[in-house]
């Protein structure tokens, strides 16, 4: 209960920190421009000849514009870096200061990550303007219901990202560092999430593999939902799976944290 009461202050102070680190965040944004590079690549391909997707969908340059600009926006809004924070704090022993406070550390990581959202919204605004003025606009859904589902899917996508970060970060309490595990996770994320290539362009076996992994539910499903890749009827079962992953990772993160924190050695000092 006191965690909930403290949440507005945690968010406000996290936002103040985000403003201090604004230059760092801009550099991070530059590091996430891969969808824009893929956009240039795929639109060039589509201009030569339309690209046929597995599900019979034809990808024009306009549909690639819509897809990759939404990918960029979704990536900004579902990001988390808790795994690196936890690794750093476990190695330095500074996790001790977090553990001394009467608030669950996962809540404080969550507030710290969410506090960056206003800045990320600002970063996405120019992309939204470009999207509205581009041929990509006609490939976006006009249905408010679909956009409401999109917002819902963003929450699920963020939860998958955040709790996967917490679970992998908590592994650093068992092994000396879990940063490399995060690197492996990210490599799989880039391939299977739809971040670099739409899932629709995957070979059939890779596409069915992506259905069973969490990554598509972080980026692919929210993006496909508003860019015509999924109908509402197709989207509901996927959203159900997305929330299944989110809750499963939440349970995994809590369990790993609970067990791992018993092994914390609070080194230094």
């Amino acid at each position: 209960m006191s965690s909930l009461k403290a949440l507005p202050t945690l968010l406000r102070i996290g936002f103040s920190e985000a403003i201090v680190y604004r230059a760092e965040m801009l550099i991070w944004v530059l590091a996430t421009t891969m969808p824009l590079i893929m956009l240039a690549l795929w639109t060039a391909v589509a201009e030569v000849a339309p690209v046929a997707g597995l599900a019979g969908r034809t990808w024009s340059s306009g549909s690639f514009v819509a897809y990759f600009l939404i990918v960029f926006i979704v990536r900004q809004l579902i990001s988390s870096w808790a795994a690196w924070e936890i690794n750093f704090e476990v190695r330095q022993g500074t996790l001790a200061m977090r553990l001394l406070r009467p608030i669950h550390p996962i809540t404080s990581y969550m507030a710290g990550n969410l506090a960056y959202l206003p800045q990320r919204f600002l970063v996405t605004l120019p992309i939204v303007v470009v999207l509205v003025l581009s041929p990509g606009l006609e490939h976006l859904s006009k249905s408010p219901a679909v956009w409401a589902m999109w917002a819902f899917s963003l929450v699920g996508g963020w939860m998958i990202t955040f709790f996967a970060n917490i679970a992998i970060g908590a592994l650093s309490l068992f092994i000396e560092s879990s940063v490399k595990i995060m690197d492996v996770w990210l490599a799989a994320f880039f391939v299977f999430s739809g971040y670099l290539f739409p899932i629709d362009l995957f070979p059939a076996w890779l596409r069915s593999a992506s259905d069973w992994l969490p990554f598509r539910y972080q980026i692919g499903v929210p993006v496909e939902l508003v860019t015509g890749g999924l109908t509402v009827e197709q989207a509901w079962p996927l959203l159900l799976r997305q929330w299944g992953w989110a809750l499963g990772l939440l349970m995994l993160a809590l369990t790993l944290w609970q067990v791992g924190v018993r092994r914390f050695q609070a080194v230094g000092g």
Partner: protein, 333 residues
């Protein structure tokens, strides 16, 4: 308030010699050693008591404080702080205690300390009026009014430590675990911190367990000391009694109106320092009266002072003995 029985904390530590070969071997085969950081510790601390927790480096002091504050899970033994099991880290427990580590900080590095105070107010759920009143007191006692609005990274070490202490006390903890709170501070700042800690514990009836390598901290704050070595209790009692135990002598300082030969002074006790005008001698505790009488009768004494040996010296001797015993033990094994 604090009860410790048979407390142990053992670590498995990966050990390898330096060099590339050893690094490669350690990929396939790791050697571990068992470190007994705390090894069967027993002691109690009453409510409102101020206790100095002393020991040489690596004795297990910080490990014990970390177990008492719930950061570490003991390997075995019983531990209770105001009826709470620390490692359960219940909210009620965390609201009662605070661990301040001189080498770790809770202040937000890039924001002014005022933001950390506000964050702690929210996290510890301190009512706003109470928070304002307590913060004003802390600001006035620690004289940090000019600092709390500057980013933490721009504060000096002393200013930061004072703000760190204010952040730690803003929720009014009743049990303080202070681990080297004055480390790196200059002498005047150490005095300010000591005075403040004493006043806080008296005002709130707070219990204090303090580790410090500055013996002035211990002498000024702690009537009782607990000394541990190799994770085991080696002394528990009054500071005065510890001094008696380690150095059962007193220091007699004599100032002369005329030069006195060292040999004459040596008849009274062991000469620690001597020059023509002043001499410092060490004498057994029960011979003080006789030595003072003889000095006044036989020497041209104009001033005389009897005191315990400096605490730093006592501790240095105590810890030196412990190091020697440890080295002996290691060479025997």
């Amino acid at each position: 308030m604090i009860r410790i029985r048979g407390l142990t904390k053992h670590y498995r530590v990966h050990k390898r010699p330096p060099g590339l070969g050893a690094a490669i071997r350690s990929v396939f085969h790791r050697e571990y050693t068992l470190v007994k950081a705390v090894d069967g510790l027993d002691f109690d601390v009453a409510r409102g008591e101020r206790v100095g927790f002393l020991g040489p480096n690596g004795a297990g002091k910080t490990t014990t404080l970390k177990m008492l504050s719930g950061l570490l899970h003991p390997t075995s033994g019983e531990l209770s702080v105001d009826g709470h099991l620390p490692q359960s880290r219940e909210t009620a427990f965390l609201k009662k205690i605070m661990l301040v580590m001189g080498q770790k900080q809770q202040l937000l590095w890039d924001l002014p300390p005022a933001e950390t105070f506000e964050l702690n107010r929210a996290i510890y759920d301190v009512p706003k009026d109470e928070f304002r009143k307590r913060l004003d007191e802390l600001i006035s006692l620690l004289e940090i009014g000019d600092q709390i609005g500057k980013p933490t990274r721009q504060l000096s070490l002393g200013e930061r430590m004072k703000c760190e202490l204010a952040a730690a006390l803003v929720h009014g903890p009743r049990v303080l675990f202070l681990d080297e709170p004055t480390i790196g501070l200059d002498v005047s700042m150490q005095v300010v911190m000591r005075d403040f800690i004493r006043r806080y514990t008296e005002q709130f009836g707070a219990t204090l367990l303090l580790t410090s390598h500055y013996m002035d901290d211990v002498a000024a704050l702690c009537p009782r000391v607990v000394v541990i070595d190799k994770g085991q209790l080696s002394f528990d009692g009054k500071l005065e009694a510890l001094v008696q135990k380690v150095r059962p002598e007193k220091r007699l300082t004599l100032r002369f109106s005329a030069p006195v030969a060292k040999e004459r002074v040596a008849e009274l006790g062991t000469v620690v320092r001597h020059d023509a005008a002043e001499s410092v001698i060490q004498i057994p505790h029960d011979s003080v009266n006789g030595a003072v009488g003889r000095a006044l009768a036989e020497l041209p004494v104009v001033d005389l002072n009897v005191e315990n040996p400096p605490l730093e010296e006592v501790m240095s001797e105590l810890f030196g003995r412990s190091r020697a015993a440890r080295a002996e033990g290691e060479s025997a094994s």
